[in-house]
């Protein structure tokens, strides 16, 4: 069952328009640029809230489905399904949080806002694109702003973080392009890039070995071993808002893309890949946890902890359906990463160092700000009462029903990563506070505290009421009942 609503197009258009207006601002008007960015992201969030109420219980909400290039079979097909709606919400929330948390005195605020809005447009395009060519265009567009945001960045062996990201992304995307071309040709004439049509045509034959061409691009974006090395270097060198977006939205989209494209084209071959994806996820979970154990840089430690979570997400995606527990886990990863990178970005900037051993005493100097960060820390550690716990336990339950050993090993990796984050948090909080080594400027900013507060509330509320983070079928049905009882028209 599918319904039509043009508001889906606005979800993609508003950030792009916001980027356009930002580019028209004078270069010195940092405040105007930030205001436009904030308004755009809030508008996008409002549109998403509206869409959450109207999405049909099961099916698709189509924004536009029109032919674009008839001879090539390219169509302009933007739509939202249940998991897509959750991910769109995640993107909207994370971008709004990143916009609100930027510092007013950043010299290149206009450039940052422009790039962040472009990235948001690209990510929402990924979530809503049901035409493969359109999907890949948005897929590639998403990372371009981060290439410019990284700028000079930290270099390792004369290879900058941006170059590393570009090389890894392009090399995996080349295979994606090849795979798509092969599938389009294999599906027969007339050529089409429509995901639904391709899935119907391939229902009998499937993808055969070509399915493997699609996998590296998504695994790279999800930061799965062995395509994970770009993430720790990237987050250490980008501004706080970009790091929030990178791990909070871009990485979860890698997981969504894997399910959206592969499962949409051929569910049969998707589930044939399940054992390989499951064990790759287990290896990633364990490797990420163990690598996190030896980190002394706070941001790198967080990056490896989230790589470990990516492994568990991959295990969950291997057997996912539209209403699996992996979607709350993706949501949890996004919100948690935003909160933790905001917290770490603020304290690292105030301390002038990213080394964990250089920090301490935050409980005495900033008890409220530090206390709010605990919600995100608890979510990473899968402590009961948080969204992270809901996601992790749900995925482990589904996995344990199929491969108990894989579930135990993946749990061990995620637990290791969680305990390391707990240790780092405890270390940062405790000990003595030496004011002389911290910044004398006022920190954190009030809006940064508000952003962290909102993220903490979302993580805790979803942990106690798991239905808030589930795929919207049950929720929208309940809302529809309430609306119907109130007599309001739909």
């Amino acid at each position: 069952m599918a319904e039509h609503d043009l508001t889906v197009i606005m979800l993609v258009a508003v950030p792009v328009l916001g980027a356009l207006f930002t580019s028209l601002c004078p270069a010195q008007s940092r405040r105007a640029a930030r205001l436009i960015g904030l308004l755009s992201s809030l508008t996008t969030l409002g549109i998403w809230v509206y869409l959450r109420l109207v999405l049909p219980p099961r099916g698709l909400l189509i924004g536009i489905h029109a032919t674009w290039v008839e001879s090539l079979g390219v169509s302009c097909f933007l739509a939202l399904d249940a998991p897509g709606l959750l991910l769109a919400g995640l993107v909207a929330v994370v971008v709004t949080a990143a916009m609100a948390a930027t510092r007013r005195q950043d010299e290149d605020a206009r450039r940052s806002v422009l790039l962040l809005l472009l990235a948001e447009g690209g990510m929402l395009g990924v979530v809503t694109a049901w035409d493969l060519l359109l999907f890949v265009i948005f897929w590639e567009v998403t990372l371009v702003p981060f290439f410019f945001l990284m700028g000079p960045g930290p270099e390792r062996r004369n290879v900058s973080a941006a170059t590393r990201l570009l090389v890894t992304s392009v090399s995996s995307s080349v295979l994606l392009w090849v795979g798509i071309m092969v599938v389009v040709v294999q599906a027969g004439r007339p050529f089409t890039f429509d995901l639904q049509v391709l899935g119907q045509r391939l229902a009998g034959t499937g993808l055969a070995g070509w399915a493997w061409l699609f996998v590296p691009a998504f695994l790279m974006r999800l930061a799965v071993v062995p395509l994970h090395t770009w993430l720790p270097v990237a987050v250490a060198g980008v501004p706080t808002s970009a790091a929030m977006l990178l791990v909070g939205a871009v990485v979860p989209l890698g997981g969504y893309g894997l399910w959206h494209v592969l499962h949409g084209l051929s569910p049969m071959h998707y589930f044939e890949l399940a054992p390989w994806l499951t064990w790759l996820g287990v290896i990633t979970a364990l490797a990420g946890g163990m690598a996190a154990l030896v980190q002394r840089d706070l941001k790198r430690l967080l990056a490896y902890a989230f790589i470990s979570q990516s492994g568990l997400i991959l295990c969950g995606l291997a057997t996912a359906t539209a209403h699996s527990a992996v979607w709350p886990l993706l949501l949890s990863m996004g919100l948690t990463a935003s909160g933790l990178f905001l917290f770490s970005g603020v304290i690292c900037a105030a301390r002038g160092s990213q080394r964990i051993l250089d920090m301490g005493g935050l409980w005495r100097s900033h008890p409220f700000f530090s206390g709010l960060a605990f919600a995100a820390v608890a979510s990473v550690a899968a402590i009961p009462g948080t969204l992270g716990f809901v996601g992790v336990v749900g995925v482990l339950q589904e996995l344990s029903g199929k491969v108990l050993l894989a579930a135990c090993l993946a749990a061990a990796g995620v637990v290791m990563a969680g305990m390391v984050v707990l240790w780092a948090y405890r270390f940062v909080l405790g000990g003595s506070h030496i004011p002389a080594v911290w910044s004398h400027q006022r920190w954190p900013l009030r809006r940064q505290v508000v952003v962290l507060f909102v993220l903490a509330v979302l993580l805790l509320a979803s942990g106690v009421m798991p239905g808030l983070a589930a795929a919207p079928a049950a929720v929208s049905a309940r809302v529809a009942t309430l609306v119907g009882q109130a007599g309001a028209p739909r």
């Binding site: 590393r164 090389v167 996190a292 707990l422 909080l429 405790g430 798991p466």
Partner: protein, 585 residues
């Protein structure tokens, strides 16, 4: 009776009220006057205690069995994520005991920390420990149990490490946090696989309880934790560790019993804990550390009694042991605080400190034999006949004698320190102690004999149980006397101390190995994953090669575009053409 029944049915308030008051205390406590802050904090621990005592009337005399389960209706809160709460007799007892212990700890904390900055947040953490324990005891679904289990651990972590004594190291409570998180993960796995793999579930359940109780080899967190303030130490060991661990063991007993060898495992773990705890309490160190090890030994003893199958004896014993040991920690902590206080000049009469010391003596003497020894007497009847009975006797006797000696030795040493500081003769402290012994022992033993005629069949296991209890009580008193009269700087005998010290050290080394060895191995693998696989293979070889290739192609392209290569290529081409023409010609 209706009131008592209502108190039982409103069991959610047992943890909601202290939790809310804890948040309030933390948020605005800094701006409140001391009387208001005291009232707020005391209300937070007193409310659940009064509610539990009222509800107890319904359970004991009103015929109440249990309240109907209360499910919190939240979105998505069905099936796996259902939140269900209820109250029965055992839960009510646990809430009452936890609240009483929290009240004791809070009263001592209110006195000790009265001049400390940020004390309102510390009081809030004390309230949170009690609130989360009450949540655990009223939980009826697995998710709610996990909430309470983890919340108790977390609250204990922050309470223990709040007054971080070692600047910049932030280690106090860290091992407790890591160990308890592993225990929670074990419980999560039990939750997921208890139907598919009952044996694995039983083993993990035992591990979770053993970690919480600090039974060997999971006792690595105990020494580090003893650096925390005395109120936090007492609260964590008595409520978060002993009471919570034994409660979960009893509640999940039905999952363990089907596995035939689990009972023997529990006997072994419990016996090892008694031995290790008693030996470690003899090692030179801080008084708090010795008392922490006594808690471990108590946990071992309780585990053995639970394995014997007498759940009522376990609860009776816990009711005696937990307040006694916690009271000793709190009392001696008060004395140590006074002795170490810098703004009390020499010669000042130790008024408050003496009160704490007397409280320690009274606690160690009055509560221990009156309940604990007699409960042990009943428990010994439950041990299997033959060798296991004597093992139980040996464990119980070893624990009581050692506990009496350790407590009395500590109290006597501190009395000597007090006397020296006050320049009063040491015998005054000894006379004081002997006087309490005579004054306290007589009526208590008489009371016990009187009670035994009326209730012995129901509570203390009849005349045989009473006989065991009196014998064990005598052992406790003997241990206490030997500790008191040998108290002082060398209250631990030299030769025996060295032998005992070696035995205890090897147990502590085992605990350290359990902590350090996995971490060292995992870090080694982590370095391999990070440096060898990530940095070298992936970054340098794969990515670096690709980037190098791209840069090489770019360099060649730049060379061609600058004109020189074009000329050389033109010359080369001409030469090749000439060569071809020559060869053809």
């Amino acid at each position: 009776m209706v009131f008592a029944q209502n108190m039982a049915q409103w069991h959610l308030l047992m943890w909601v009220v202290p939790a809310l008051l804890a948040v309030l205390c933390s948020a605005v406590g800094k701006h409140l006057s001391r009387p208001v802050l005291l009232a707020l904090c005391l209300s937070g621990v007193s409310w659940p205690l009064l509610q539990a005592l009222s509800a107890g009337v319904w359970f004991l005399w009103g015929g109440g069995q249990a309240t109907p389960p209360l499910t919190l209706d939240v979105p998505g809160g069905q099936g796996l994520f259902a939140l269900v709460f209820a109250l029965d007799g055992m839960s009510n007892w646990a809430v009452a005991l936890a609240s009483a212990l929290s009240l004791l700890a809070l009263v001592q904390a209110l006195d000790i920390t009265r001049f400390w900055i940020g004390r309102h947040r510390y009081y809030a953490l004390v309230l949170l420990v009690g609130a989360s324990a009450n949540l655990l005891f009223t939980a009826r679904s697995m998710l709610a149990v996990l909430f309470g289990w983890e919340a108790v651990a977390l609250a204990g972590t922050f309470a223990a490490g709040f007054w971080e004594p070692e600047e910049g190291r932030a280690r106090t409570g860290l091992r407790w946090l890591v160990f308890q998180h592993i225990g929670t993960v074990c419980l999560v796995v039990v939750w997921l696989v208890h139907e598919a793999a009952p044996l694995l579930a039983a083993i993990l359940l035992v591990c979770a309880c053993a970690i919480r109780l600090g039974l060997p080899p999971f006792h690595g967190w105990v020494p580090e934790h003893s650096r925390s303030p005395s109120s936090a130490l007492a609260l964590v060991h008595s409520v978060a560790s002993l009471l919570a661990g034994i409660y979960l063991l009893q509640k999940s007993w039905s999952l363990l019993v089907p596995v035939s060898w689990i009972v023997h495992l529990l006997y072994a773990l419990g016996g090892a804990a008694v031995l290790a705890g008693v030996l470690a309490a003899w090692l030179p160190g801080r008084p708090a550390t010795a008392l922490a090890w006594l808690f471990v030994a108590a946990g071992g003893l309780l585990t053995m009694v639970q394995a014997a199958g007498d759940a009522a004896a376990v609860r009776l014993l816990l009711t005696g042991l937990a307040p006694a040991l916690a009271g000793a920690v709190l009392s001696l902590g008060g004395v140590v605080d006074w002795l170490e206080s810098r703004d009390v000049p020499r010669g000042t009469p130790p008024g408050r400190a003496l009160v704490w010391l007397v409280a320690a003596l009274a606690g160690s003497l009055a509560i221990f034999p009156a309940i604990s020894a007699l409960a042990l007497g009943r428990a010994l009847l439950a041990f299997p006949a033959g060798t296991m009975t004597w093992v139980g006797v040996a464990a119980a006797g070893l624990f009581l004698v050692a506990a009496g000696r350790v407590l009395a030795g500590l109290a006597g040493t501190l009395a000597a320190d007090l006397a020296q500081r006050n320049r009063a003769p040491a015998r005054h402290g000894g006379l004081l102690g002997a006087g309490w012994l005579a004054a306290g022992a007589g009526p208590l033993l008489g009371l016990a004999l009187l009670v035994s005629h009326s209730f012995s069949g129901q509570i203390f296991g009849g005349g045989k149980g009473l006989a065991w209890g009196v014998a064990l009580g005598a052992g406790l008193v003997l241990g206490w006397l030997s500790g008191w009269f040998s108290s002082g700087p060398s209250w631990k005998p030299a030769m025996a101390g060295r032998l005992v010290g070696r035995a205890a050290s090897s147990g502590l080394v085992l605990g350290e190995l359990v902590v350090r060895l996995p971490v060292v191995l995992l870090r080694m693998v982590g370095v391999l994953v990070w440096r060898l696989v990530g940095d070298f293979l992936l970054d340098t070889v794969l990515v670096g090669t690709a980037v190098g290739t791209i840069e090489g192609v770019g360099a060649v392209t730049r060379l061609i575009q600058n004109g020189r290569v074009q000329r050389y290529a033109f010359v080369l081409l001409v030469l090749v053409l000439v060569l071809v023409m020559v060869l053809r010609g």
